[in-house]
Symmetry: C2
């Protein structure tokens, strides 16, 4: 019976392409046809023409065991984070989130009270970001909890910011500080291991409240979107830092057909992240480059906007844009230059 | 360590509420605040005001082991069906689907070739329904395949059709025929069992191509949306038949604050569905009432539109709307009347 037989076709493991390679591969032939579909796959959000403004739409999946571990992620925080990371994608387009839909799949080990906790966090974030929950789907699952969120936003046509607009000599700017979320996660993982070995041990989280909050309750930087408007800055490109500074820098480089130069001594780190990195024997700069989940914004601005950001604590100029031929580089404190690579978490661990 | 401890709170099993009860419970306090959020949870799609027209948005989750079994669901068909059932939600609002986003989570047992098959089906359906894929997310999963689709559509403001507009004396109409998809699924399950017991047995699907197609490759009735426009019929309410005629009739009853009267001898059944139901020892009417996944449309129209539909093969008048006080009834061939209940699949099996 052919339906039930394994077909004798060549099978290539998904890992051979990686996440971004896989999306590129599966969607490379897709051409949008509706005149309202302005921008499809390839940025933080898709863009739909509403006539007088653009609508933004972005989807994220969060899976238990892949994206979160309920051993140290309280459900309320998880709900909050699920909304925040989606709103962050809209911020990265210089837009305002307006509506979300929520798909939930959960196994029967979850109680109604557990889902209420999750929804408390979802509702808190929706209130904070001014987002309406307009729809959703709920289903049982054979394994764990899965959250699928789609967010809709809006942006004035002249304000929309893609990954693709960076120009040579633009300044590369990031908001907030980096690496903290990854370090917070490492601390939570360590404390979980200790707890498993000895459930009577109390967790040692003192002094690390900031990095733990960065991991468990990140915020979307809608305040930055507002500030850019107030400062009359139109970023030439923007992306949110979900996968680490390296990965996002390379996205801007690829989309804008330019190269990025990032200076080690400019990368903003919080003092508590530095202290924890020493305790955990990790290089904090590598955490910033490859850790991810900081949900800060990485943007490029014209040189003429330098005066507007130079003394603003929310912004740090970490590099600049140069011609594609120069290659993407990480310029270390010792003056050496290294090709920028998106190495992910492995690169941090083996350092 | 409180993070890792089970809290001593009362836990209520999710099953005690059921899917619709759970959604109602979790979303009962949600009030939309953005002026563009016209209609939130509670219909086939949410409604967003675009100014000159309405935008429709709907999300569906499809999980392996819950919604599909890859033993008899080819990946290409699965991709097609995932799009079709979402487009069907837009049709149920009398609208046109325009864009979708696709979230995919899959374990490493899936190869790139398998995902290409899935996308072939997705692309076929998008082409058929004129829908653009504008975004998505791809991630690994610890268990099986999960598809999350969000569809965006549009409808003229004066054409939008909710579940809530049915009025006393309206005619209750359904499109196509019912019960076939459920019967096709039962046949596929039977053949799977036979195959497991004896892999040399060839499947016996002859004569049942229609019901199998109903299950594996359902179509969204966008043709009905076009025809309603051509016939100048504005349905007073509409819903798509995903969970069975009973469940959908009760949704219209509840949303419209009326009651529905459904006549057994009017329910449209395909001859191949009737034949198969005899072979499988199932009552085909119960399959229509409780089987689901037919993705036909259930609508109510004004009596004055009777002449427009009475000799159209696409439409069958199966009942009418009466005052809420009469209760929702199933009127059997023998003249007896039975309260209409959404009993789901169990009710079919135990008949």
């Amino acid at each position: 019976m052919s339906l039930f037989k394994e077909k004798g076709i060549k099978t290539t493991p998904i890992e051979s392409l990686g996440e971004f390679g896989l999306i590129d591969h599966l969607t490379k032939d897709i051409i949008t046809k509706n005149p309202t579909s302005v921008k499809g796959i390839g940025d933080d959000a898709a863009v739909i023409d509403l006539g007088n403004k653009y609508q933004l739409i972005s989807t994220d999946l969060l899976l238990e065991g892949v994206h979160f571990d309920l051993a140290y992620m309280p459900l309320k925080h998880l709900g909050y984070k699920a909304v925040a990371v989606n709103v962050s994608d809209i911020c990265a387009m210089n837009g305002d989130a307006k509506q979300i839909t929520i798909g939930l799949a959960m196994s029967n080990r979850f109680s109604i009270e557990a889902l209420e906790e999750l929804y408390t966090g979802i509702n808190l974030a929706c209130e904070k970001y001014g987002v309406d929950i307009v729809g959703g789907d709920t289903t049982s699952s054979t394994a764990g909890l899965m959250i699928s969120i789609t967010v809709l936003g809006e942006v004035e046509k002249e304000k929309i910011t893609y990954r693709s607009g960076a120009k040579v000599n633009d300044l590369l700017v990031c908001t907030g500080d980096l690496g903290g979320s990854y370090l917070g996660l490492q601390l939570l993982k360590r404390e979980k291991e200790i707890f498993i070995e000895n459930p009577k041990m109390q967790p040692d989280l003192a002094g690390n409240e900031y990095v733990i909050q960065r991991q468990l309750k990140p915020e979307a930087r809608i305040d930055i979107v507002r500030k850019l408007e107030k400062l009359k800055i139109d970023p030439t490109s923007m992306i949110d830092i979900s996968d680490g500074l390296s990965s996002e820098g390379l996205h801007i480089s690829k989309s804008s057909k330019v190269s990025v130069q990032i200076y080690e001594d400019k990368i903003p780190l919080d003092i508590s992240a530095i202290n924890l990195s020493e305790e955990l024997n990790l290089n904090p700069i590598l955490c910033a480059l490859n850790g991810g989940e900081d949900y800060e914004l990485l943007l490029t601005i014209k040189q003429q906007d330098y005066e507007k950001v130079k003394s603003d604590v929310d912004f740090t100029i970490i590099g600049h844009i140069s011609d594609k031929s120069e290659g993407n580089n990480f310029l270390a404190k010792d003056g050496s230059s290294h090709p920028l690579r998106a190495q992910g978490w492995d690169a941090i661990k083996t350092d």
